[in-house]
Amino acid sequence: MQRVIPLPPYPGYPAMSPNALCFGDEFPAAGAPCIVQVEEHGLTVTFASDTADGQPESVPFSSLTVTAGGLDHDHLVVKWVNVQGERTLYLKNPDVIRAFRESVPDHLSLPFAQAAERVRQVRHRGRLVWGVVGGAILATVLGLWFGADLLVELAVSRIPVEWEHKLGESAYRDFLSHQEVMKDGPAVAALGEMTQRLTEQIPNNPYKFEVTVVKSDVVNAFALPGGYVVVFTGLMKKAESGEEVAGVLSHELNHVLQRHGLERIVKSLGLLTVVAIVLGDQQGLVGLMKQLGVELLTLKFGREQETEADLKGLQLLQRAKIDPSGMIRFFERLSEKDQGRMEWLSTHPMSTARAERLKAELAALPKKSPEPFTFDWKHVQASLGSQPVAAP
């Protein structure tokens, strides 16, 4: 038979529904729902279910500590110790909090005021946040009207190049600090030559490109906003000529020039951030992006961006008189099924169509006689400690 515990009559307290959760060793982890009432000398806690010890517990104010807690610091957390151990109450009911505040004795008033202030601040911030959300909804509607891409472009065009530099640089330095960087040698010299040949052909280049060779068997290369490029030695070992590496480099440089990284960031941060940028909160964005450093590296570009980087990359190679067929050959080899695990493929899905498009584009460009690099590719590869790739 179950014991029914009569709830004590409290005048002026009609609704006896739980208004707090109590935590302690013998309570379930979700907390025991309870009724908290504020009296002259302390709190009375009555458990709603008869599974707990049943008797209302009176706790004098003198034994309480008060803080703010919970997911958004919007709960009042009240702790005390009784014979069973530590008790923790999570209160959110505004009536109880008000009553508590009014009768709280002096020794608690300071922490209480601090806690209550946190609760109030969170609520206030909530209103602010909803203001921003309102703006975002407005922008969404506008975005649907004019096309979301336009909104993204608008936002991206408002980010100055210096910020892009700062942004990319912090992620880049952070990345390199965990890597084995190749400082000199034939591979670094070869990439330097490629970079110079390519960047010389970029009119009004706002970026000071920095290309670093990182010792790793990862077959990859990536570019960060602001012109920070990493090429892994694994990719150089896999390439059959300097022109192939130059093709990948030209592709990556064009991701930077076309600000693909920024577009991607703005897109993935969502409309809310777009709105913030358009409305002028650019300072906050830089802070957010700093936190985001890692994410910058995991960015995958969209197919349109890849195509753009391919085509612009090809044109840049052409202008720099670097044989563009190296880029095409490399893409073709990547699209063959038996390439195994190559990281560049994880961010650059290859297809024969991709190489075909480049071939068609190349055929449409005026013929230029390529000028070879000054380095010997086999020699460069040998310096990386790899076996020269055997001809099939």
Partner: protein, 227 residues
């Protein structure tokens, strides 16, 4: 209102018995079958703007469905889209849960559902996006997961670390910080996910045994790339 989980495990359904006049809210598309006494209404929870903001900011579907036993008692069968477990929680009127947007399957009508914005850094770095559902009120709440659901019980100040893409729901009495999972760059570089949530009790955290994002990536490798 009575509910029962049928075929517990990877491919469960929930049967909810409704008395005449009773109704439940369900994720739109969750209804599998129902008695002819049940009316299906699409309702915009939180008004038009609320629904609009959910739609565009969380990618959540525009509507919840209301399934109402308007012509006499009846039953409703509900199922989630993804394979995975279902749990039924009974909300007591005081406890509040934050639910990742794909975790909500259905709830009694007295359950309140709000879209809640997370702090910017949580929204950016956590896998759940800027918006999550905040669920309060009294009555039945049905959650679904991708894979099995595992409940973590946290005592006051007890901590636990969870990969953010495995989160399903957590008590509002918990708090959490987002942290970088590893110091190894290449791992986050190649696997994508690099963040975890450090939860602090008291309260419950429900997690799912499979990561939807990783599963998607795994599936993708079998899909031929086409232009």
């Amino acid at each position: 209102m009575k509910s029962e989980i049928l075929y517990p495990g990877a491919f469960p359904m929930v049967r909810v018995d409704l008395a005449a006049g009773e109704h439940i809210k369900a994720e739109s598309g969750a209804m599998v079958a129902c008695s002819p006494t049940i009316d299906i209404e699409s309702k915009m929870e939180g008004g038009f703007l609320g629904a609009l903001s959910r739609k565009f900011l969380t990618g959540e579907k525009f509507f919840f469905q209301t399934l109402r036993a308007s012509r006499g008692p009846g039953e409703v069968l509900l199922a989630p889209t993804v394979p995975g477990e279902i749990v039924i929680l009974e909300l007591d009127g005081v406890s509040e849960y934050m639910v990742q947007k794909d975790g909500f399957l259905a709830g009694a009508d007295a359950i309140l559902i709000e879209s809640k914005m997370q702090s910017l850094s949580r929204g950016l770095l956590g896998g759940e996006g800027f918006f999550i559902l905040k669920i309060s009120g009294k009555g039945m709440l049905v959650l679904n997961s991708f894979g099995a659901i595992h409940k973590i019980e946290l005592k006051p100040d007890q901590e636990y670390i969870v990969d953010n893409s495995h989160l399903v729901a957590w008590s509002a009495t918990t708090s959490y910080n987002i942290e970088k999972a590893t110091s190894g760059w290449v791992s986050s570089f190649t696997s994508g996910e690099g963040f975890v949530c450090r939860f602090r009790g008291p309260g419950l955290v429900y997690i799912q045994s499979r990561n939807p994002g990783s599963f998607g990536a795994w599936i993708r490798q079998f899909i031929p790339v086409s232009e």
